[in-house]
């Protein structure tokens, strides 16, 4: 039984990586007209935050780091900065997760929103301080908004299709003993 749950855990972790890879793949497809006036939601962030708040053990630190560092390299962002901020943001959320567990979804959404806005502002501040040309402000804003709009959908898909749910009281002990 314990062995089965261990393989299940690792398969969920790899599922996280595969989903991140899928998102990057879709972004890289040469489909969109090159100039766009709106930014598609950053689904990787929504996925990471949703999973970290539900089952942090499915999205371990090293996997988040790897996925976002690769994304930084592939999407021509300054490498490392966005990944570091996402890592900090996700772990802040993870620390808050026990308090959020009992609250309703809008509260969770609110805390995800504050975290996302905080790391976006932090990202732009660092770029500003180090004199690196930052992406246009309007696009950043639109991306934050679309990501937040997509977050409930990501959560819904995670819960219904992938069965990544918050641990119900009592389930922890069942997992421990099994």
């Amino acid at each position: 039984m314990a062995e089965r749950s261990a393989t299940f855990l690792w398969s969920m972790r790899f599922l996280y990586l595969v989903l991140c890879g899928l998102v990057m793949f879709i972004h890289l497809l040469p489909l969109e007209p090159v100039t766009t006036f709106w930014a598609a939601p950053d689904l990787m962030i929504a996925l990471t935050f949703a999973w970290v708040l539900r089952r942090p053990e499915y999205a371990p630190l090293v996997f988040i780091t790897g996925a976002f560092l690769l994304a930084d390299f592939l999407f021509h962002r300054p490498p490392g900065l966005w990944a570091a901020l996402v890592l900090i943001g996700s772990q802040t959320l993870r620390a808050k997760a026990p308090d959020l567990r009992d609250l309703t979804f809008p509260m969770e959404w609110l805390s995800v929103a504050t975290t996302l806005i905080a790391i976006t502002i932090g990202y732009r501040m660092v770029l500003l301080i180090l004199v690196i040309d930052a992406p246009p402000l309007s696009l950043s804003l639109i991306q934050v908004l679309t990501t937040l709009a997509a977050y409930p959908l990501v959560v819904l898909a995670s819960q219904t299709v992938l069965r990544v749910r918050k641990i119900a009281p009592g389930e922890v002990d069942a997992m421990r003993t099994s």
Binding site: M24, F25, H27, L28, L29, P30, L31, E32, P33, V34, T35, T36, F37, W38, A39, A40, L61, V62, T65, L69, L70, F73, L74, F75, H76, R77, P78, P79, G80, L81, A83, A84, L87, I88, Q91, L130, I132, D133, P135, P136, L139, Q143, R176
Partner: protein
Amino acid sequence: MARDRAQDNDYFGQLRKLLLAVLVLCLLAIFLVWRIDSPRVERFRAQVIDTVVPNFDWAMAPVTGAVNILRDFQSYQRIYQQNQELRRELQQMKSWREAALQLEQENARLLDLNNVQLDPRLTYVTGVVLADSGSPFRQSVLINVGARDGIVDGWATMDGLGLVGRISGVGENSARVVLLTDSSSGIPVTVQPSGHQALVAGDNSGSPLLTFLEDDDGVRPGDRVMTSGDGGVFPAGLLVGRVTQDPGGRLRVRLSADYERLEFLRVLRNWAQERIEDPGSLVEPDTPATEELSESADPLEEDEIGPEPADG
């Protein structure tokens, strides 16, 4: 039991905090290294893309194809309208073709008259677009030719019609093309027929700005914009687009290249052009050399040099 678990959690919690700190420091170190020594990290980035993206290629082609088929299917719905439009355009094109043929003959005659030789070294390599930049903040595409095919940083890239961008970042099998619309792109151009010099600077919108124009008066919407070849970045005379005016009154360039449909790109081979840097000995004699000559040479040689200007 409960105390045991609490300790357990505490231990793992500490460990995780340590790991988090280490990872964040590593990432920030990568970022700082990139900030300090950008070219090296960019080369590394090119290598990463070079290994990752071609692996996606087998999946990218069918997915892109399928989506494009779907889009085409949508366009079947207005097939009648399109047919009408195409007929009208064909009519116009026929008259243009007639004009072009006449001009071509005239051009051939004139070239023959002048015995002009176009630069034979301006050949090209054709590549297929593998991926776009993946983010709306960067206007670039990845093509499937790289250092293996002799691509060099800085070469100009065109589609069949006009300039698309320049090579920036070369991997073994792939290269990144920064488009003219990217906000970091700026190329020197000439506006025809007035001959004004200007700079086409991208601003992440579909048509880049025409800046650093000496005076706006001679330039009208509809004028042709060609590369000027200043600075040795691009060969001169490549078509960029036509001048337009945006609602704010600023001059922009409507690009000739079809940016909605970038599929095959031509990379122009552009070996380092010869540059004239010194004024040349005819205009201004090389003074230190002549001094040396007069010091070391015997009087007889000086006599030989002396009368020469009198001859001329």
